[in-house]
Assembly symmetry: C2
Homo-oligomer: 423 residues x 2
């Protein structure tokens, strides 16, 4: 079942605001059996919008349109849809009432432009009861056109709560689609390629390989008219993927590494503290983006200066003077220091050179020591991460979190990693 | 001067990987006078690629194509371009040599699929001398078609270093375009709208209004055949914008708030330390994403647990027991505590309820106290931020950083903010 997405807005084609909603929609629709074939972004131009709508409706059973539903003179979607389909515009009383109520509540004077939002193509069915949220759909013969607001939160809400159920009802999927994304970290790209070659002989499955640095994502798609057969092919392929990539798969689908680690800690009733230097708070921030992280995250310190390393973590001044802040002894002292200070089960430390400045021939930018402290031992590894400052920080944070994951999941004290270098 | 962008890749239309390159290109091209009218994303489908290419070349003077230049069976761009233009594919010796050299260096066996990358449409001009980077362009009559790799870093490099110079030479801009983006924070949307109404009477200027929560971005575009007139109109409009929004504009164009704050600190030779609870490291991380931040950022602490607040910052246990962690006394104690501990000029603190859990009727999710400590005084404000956990954290971090900005820039000890609430 194929469809297209039309995203409208000058801010999009001028690159002021990235078009995230179209790709999010495509992502949600694909595993359900709805294949988006074209995603077109156009400016607030009536002729271009009409032409694009006509072309899409001519060739696809459904079209999702985003943007252009607002009150400004640039908002042209209602007009364009009406003209493209040869429908009159009609004032929808309910929308008019909602606009008036919203204006009153916001303390704003009545604005005639806003009333434009109440003029919808004849036959439009509202998608929501929310006071300030636009959105409707139309049946055009056997086809469907959805018009959604461009604001990401509103678009996503309506897509999930209204568009998808309507699609599922109107166009029940003809094939069974089984889909999963496997998130991989720690393997060299060449190693992944070698292992992937063993997978490509499986019949009926389509694999996708997506570097999303520092991670690699592997997608598995199985389509079959028969549910049993689709499930069987899927199970076989998944088993093969796990046997090939095992410990390096940290999660599936929307899993975030920091949430996976959090769940593992929470299951064991254990706690973590982190001491960061060059990652500068990134690890703590990633952990605390996850709701409920206070169950397993006790504290973090960003000992950005050497003085902070000494004062907060007790790293001896002589140690830093002798070995440098980016060294094995300091990484060990920081990891053990934060674990003792916080009295947690685990401590992670990162000390390195994120770049672009600060590198030397002996310790170039990208040189990062990561320390891991648990009851069993305190250990550290040296890495040489590629890329610019942000990528080095991202790799460092991901490696540290993934190290803890592999210890919790597999008991590995010193896991092997891509980019590890001999000290 | 109008053009279009065609982004090719199953991973894009399936939403596996967001299409960032197209929008980045549009953003870079727009201020130079090159208006992207359509951004189309299609799958790895020969027929669809050819048809889209033909349509774009039929109506626009230039087209930028990304993706599909690799060695896999899904990579169809060269074939599609050749067929759409009726050109033969020819082996480019130089590309073949590069592939062989790259394989040798990477220790990979010769792969016949990779040699496909050396078969380009006749007349293709290579865009780079880089060994492992694909990319070429073609003149089609008076028109230009650029074929770039989909990998963001490679696409951006070639766009900036090769595509833009070629465009400027082949299609010198007919109008002078002056463009700037103003980044605003702290004003209510209704207030911004009121002020914007005063701007809309200026002739010859186009304004754009883009919520990029928690910030608001305002774009100013002036186009005129005469350079002097364009500059004059631009200056007038900019002066008006600054007079209307003044203290609430924290930066322009690509400025990041954390970098603006960093520059202000560095100019004064002053230093900052932060104590975070519900922002969980986000402030420290944003600061340290900026290269050179060690010049003004001494340390951060993420006192996620109450015990950490007590142990690291000396916040008395009785104070937390009496007022709660999310309170004015605690915010003040944290801000002053970290400033004293780190012996910095400034301390920032955040303690709040990011949600979704943890709220009460008295202190609902979104309730955040932010503290600011400097030599002059230590003060705190209470906020009620909207949205989900991430948005509350983003608003908190931005408010804290912006508070410091407004103190450094304007000497305001307690700046007024959107979402501030009476304690």
């Amino acid at each position: 079942m194929r469809g297209a997405i039309l995203a409208i807005g000058n801010e999009l084609v001028e690159g002021r605001v990235p078009n995230t909603t179209s790709f999010l929609a495509a992502r949600r629709l694909f595993p359900l059996g709805y294949e988006i074939r074209e995603i077109l972004t156009v400016p607030d131009d009536l002729a271009l919008i009409k032409e694009s709508l006509r072309r899409f409706l001519g060739r696809y059973p459904f079209v999702i349109v985003s943007g252009g539903l607002g009150p400004t003179t640039d908002d042209l979607t209602n007009e364009a849809v009406a003209e493209a389909l040869g429908l009159p515009l009609e004032v929808k009383e309910e929308v008019l009432k909602r606009i008036e109520a919203w204006e009153k509540e916001a303390g704003l004077p009545p604005n005639p432009l806003r009333r434009k939002m109440a003029k919808l193509p004849a036959g439009a069915v509202l998608l929501t009861n929310e006071k300030a949220m636009a959105g409707y759909y139309l049946k055009v013969g056997e086809k469907l056109i959805f018009c959604l607001p461009g604001v990401p939160q509103e678009f996503e809400y309506l897509l999930k709560e209204r568009v998808i159920p309507i699609l599922l009802e109107h166009f029940p999927p003809e094939e069974v689609v089984r889909f999963k994304l496997y998130k991989i970290f720690g393997l060299r790209e060449a190693d992944i390629n070698l292992r992937l070659m063993e997978l490509e002989e499986l019949p009926g499955v389509v694999l996708g390989y997506y570097p999303v640095l520092p991670e690699i994502h592997l997608s598995l798609t199985v389509k079959h008219p028969s549910k049993e057969k689709a499930e069987e092919l899927f199970r076989q392929a998944e088993a093969k993927i796990y046997s090939l990539f095992g410990e390096y798969i940290f999660g599936e689908n929307d899993d975030l590494l920091e949430a996976v680690v959090g769940r593992l800690l929470e299951e064991r009733g254990e706690m973590l503290a982190v001491a960061e230097s060059c990652t500068g708070g990134l690890i703590s921030s990633r952990i605390t983006r996850v709701p409920g992280s206070s169950a397993y995250f006790e504290r973090g310190v960003v000992t950005y200066s050497n003085r902070a390393k000494q004062e907060i973590l007790g790293v001896p001044e002589e140690m830093i003077a002798k070995h440098g802040a980016v060294s094995e002894p300091v990484a060990l002292a920081m990891a053990e220091g934060i674990r003792n200070l916080a009295r947690t089960n685990y401590g992670l430390s990162v000390t390195g050179i994120a770049g672009p400045t600060g590198g030397t021939p002996e310790k170039p930018a990208g040189t990062v020591w990561i320390g891991f402290s648990c009851r069993e031992a305190t250990v550290a590894q040296c890495f040489l991460f590629p890329g610019d400052r942000h990528l080095v920080q991202d790799f460092s944070a991901t490696t540290a979190l993934d190290w803890l994951r592999r210890y919790l999941r597999y008991g590995t004290l010193v896991p092997r990693y891509q980019f590890a270098r001999r000290s």
